[in-house]
């Protein structure tokens, strides 16, 4: 019996980690900054490719993953400076610009790196409970997802940078008048967002096939989580992921993957219909 209970928790943790890790970066870039970043998946792909490249050069996996997240973050800062900066007041144009960037990046990767890269393999380790065996690495992913949520909370709620960043997102002109260097805040925030996307790719790289379009498998889930999370990203993303993970896990377990995916997307449609502001609107109202 305990095997069944643990297996339910494990499946929940697995879906939850996938949603949180793929959505965390987008929560900042899209949720807070309002940039519809269609290249989100390509930052994830970047994290995965850098990780595999470094591991093949002999770098230990954990260090390669951290370096990959940093690389994606730095590339994000550069992209913000060169492209995104020009579109803060034109969100729909930012959609087009980043979509173009995404097409260019996937096609260039295809031409330069080729259509498939050999995987590095998931770190060894599995354990058995009852009749089931589980991969230890999937629990590491869950731990990372929780750590990312905690880290975001601390950075944006408890630090001086976080206060200024939130002020900038709410009212850039006022924040600037009070002496905040809003340009720098924007580029650092964008960098954190793409860095988290890179971290997602880095963490999932050992468990997946690496192809230039791999980011696409994360993008739907990440947008869905952020959108139903709603306006207050820090309070919305985690409950959104919990909610979607429970629905998807339950349907996956009882009816298979097709119904799981359909059910999750139907739930999203219903939530957006009933709560156009997302889950966080309810939580924030209660909190006041």
């Amino acid at each position: 019996m305990s095997a069944e209970v643990f297996s339910v928790f494990y499946q929940f943790a697995d879906v939850f980690a996938f949603l949180i890790l793929s959505a965390a970066g987008l929560a900042i870039v899209f949720g807070m900054m309002g940039v519809i970043n269609m290249a989100h998946g390509e930052f994830i792909m970047c994290g995965a490719y850098v990780t595999v490249g470094l591991v093949n050069l002999g770098v230990p996996l954990a260090i390669a993953q951290i370096l990959a997240a940093l690389t994606a973050g730095l590339i994000g800062v550069a992209v913000e400076f060169l492209i995104v900066r020009r579109f803060y007041k034109r969100p729909l144009d930012s959609l087009l610009a980043t979509w173009g960037l995404s097409l260019i990046v996937t096609q260039s990767m295809l031409l330069i790196v080729g259509s498939a890269v050999r995987g590095i393999g998931t770190p060894e380790g599995s354990f058995a409970i009852g009749g089931y065996t589980f991969s230890t690495y999937r629990l590491v992913l869950f731990g990372c997802a929780v750590a990312v949520l905690g880290g975001l909370y601390i950075v944006f709620m408890k630090t001086r940078f976080g206060v200024i960043a939130r002020a900038t997102m709410q009212n850039a002109a006022m924040a600037k008048a009070l002496g905040a260097r809003t340009g720098r805040i924007y580029s650092i925030s964008f960098g954190i967002g793409t860095g988290l996307a890179g971290l997602c790719g880095a963490l999932y790289a050992p468990t997946m096939t690496l192809i230039p379009t791999m980011g696409a498998t994360f993008v739907v889930e990440s947008f869905v989580t952020v959108v139903i999370g709603g306006a207050n990203v820090l309070l919305g993303t985690a409950p959104a992921a919990v909610f979607l993970a429970i629905i998807r896990m339950a349907l996956n377990a009882s009816y298979g993957q097709i119904i799981g995916q359909i059910g999750m997307l139907v739930a999203v449609i219903l939530i957006i219909r009933v709560l156009p502001e997302g889950l966080s609107s309810v939580l924030v109202r209660r909190g006041r």
């Binding site: 998931t122 599995s126 096939t209």
Partner: protein, 413 residues
């Protein structure tokens, strides 16, 4: 203008005249246009790239040795990027605007079924070069790949005998996966086996923790893995990480998706497949063929069966045209009807079956070891594509333009 320059102009004019004369002579024999639709970007690019390469290699070889009926081949390749709507758009463009003499290509069965009605409205021959779920009875289509009676009727009995009667199926959720699963149900029933679970996965899904647990709950003796595409292939890595450790069988793994080259060992350990081609074949003909391929494409990770079949398709086209002394589909089909449409392929002699227009193949059962080494377990010799003929498809008499499955058989007339 001085006289030296004048002389130069005259000479130049004469040279141009000669060149024009030559090109006029060539224009009398315009090149044969081969339309090719293969994905070289998108989710299936890693499989489609060898198909493009195989076609390019065959075209180059045929052109060097004098072309087809003395005519050179012009290859027109378009990249539909794995999008079925684009397959239709590009198919129409090649057939109606470029007026190609033959159309080749398509990876997924969904793309083939999207193309087939468009091809059927023309009198252009169409070669499909993949192994697939079988059953297409259509006079416009010539199938070069292996079909279930060559792949499943060999593999499944072998797996049942070796590993046991309980199978769990993981299949991609579109016509290929659904019909292949139907084949498995039929063959398992005939063998007295049991399908303990069937899971259809939407294309693009990459997370399999729940599937792995469902499998462990169902306790099968072996798995039939007919999942498709790079995202779904992540199953192997995740199953290995969770120590699932079950024997696996497939009609598309190893020789087609070269998962044993793309994943770190031992993710593909204990995988079995029946194939007409895999790069590890080491007969002299195969070795010679691989040498030519790698000389032209030194970076090729693996020569997969689709790429190999795509290469054969052009030689089969050449054989048909030269025997018919015509590029018309009807004349080529008269050659097929004689049962004498054969080529010497790197796997050995392969022939087109007159009734179904599918190809006979020499089939081998291969297994993958813990270090991802490939071993031939059993050699079945040449197997005919007999199923369509047995159930009543006879293209020499009637063009059904339909796809049959074990549960959708032709009406008795």
């Amino acid at each position: 203008m001085n006289s030296g320059r004048k002389l130069g102009m005259v000479l130049l004019g004469a040279m141009l005249g000669t060149a024009a004369g030559v090109s006029v002579a060539r224009a009398a024999e315009p090149p044969l246009k081969v339309g090719l639709l293969e994905d070289v970007s998108g989710d299936l690019a890693f499989m489609g790239m060898p198909k493009l390469h195989g076609s390019q290699l065959a075209v180059e070889e045929i052109n060097k040795s004098g072309g087809i009926l003395g005519r050179q081949i012009e290859l027109i390749h378009l990249d539909p990027q794995g999008d079925n709507a684009r397959y239709q758009e590009f198919g129409r463009r090649l057939l109606n605007r470029d007026k190609v003499d033959v159309l080749i290509g398509g990876i997924t069965s969904a793309s083939r079924e999207a193309l087939r009605p468009i091809v059927d409205r023309t009198s252009t021959p169409y070669f499909y070069t993949n192994q697939y779920e079988g059953g297409v009875c259509d006079a416009s289509m010539i199938s070069m790949g292996a079909v279930p009676e060559q792949q499943f009727s060999t593999l499944i009995p072998w797996m049942v005998e070796k590993f046991g009667k309980k199978v769990y199926v993981i299949a991609a959720d579109y016509n290929f996966g659904q019909i292949s699963a139907e084949w498995n149900r039929k063959i398992m029933k005939d063998l007295g086996g049991e399908v303990v679970g069937e899971e259809f996965i939407p294309l693009g899904v990459s997370q399999f923790a729940q599937t792995i647990q469902n499998i462990q709950k169902a306790k099968p003796d072996w798995l039939l893995t007919i999942n498709v595409g790079a995202a779904q292939d992540s199953f192997f890595e995740q199953a290995a990480a969770a120590n699932l450790n079950l024997p696996m069988g497939s009609s598309i793994k190893v020789m087609l998706g070269f998962e044993h080259k793309r994943f770190k060992p031992p993710a593909l350990n204990n995988m079995h497949a029946t194939a007409n081609w895999f790069e590890e074949i080491d007969t002299p003909e195969a070795t010679e063929f691989k040498k030519r391929w790698h000389a032209k494409f030194p970076d090729e990770l693996y020569i997969n069966d689709m790429g190999y079949n795509a290469y054969n398709a052009l030689y089969m086209y050449k054989a048909l045209v030269e025997k018919a002394k015509s590029i018309k589909l009807d004349d080529m089909r008269k050659v097929i009807a004689t049962g004498d449409a054969c080529i010497d392929a790197p796997e050995g002699k392969v022939c087109i079956d007159p009734k179904s227009q599918h190809t006979s193949h020499r089939m081998r059962l291969i297994s993958v070891g813990p270090k991802h080494e490939v071993k031939v377990e059993k050699d079945y010799g040449t197997i005919q594509p007999y199923w369509l003929g047995e159930i009543g498809c006879d293209l020499t008499k009637k063009n059904d333009k339909d796809q049959y499955t074990p549960s959708h058989l032709p009406k008795k007339s």
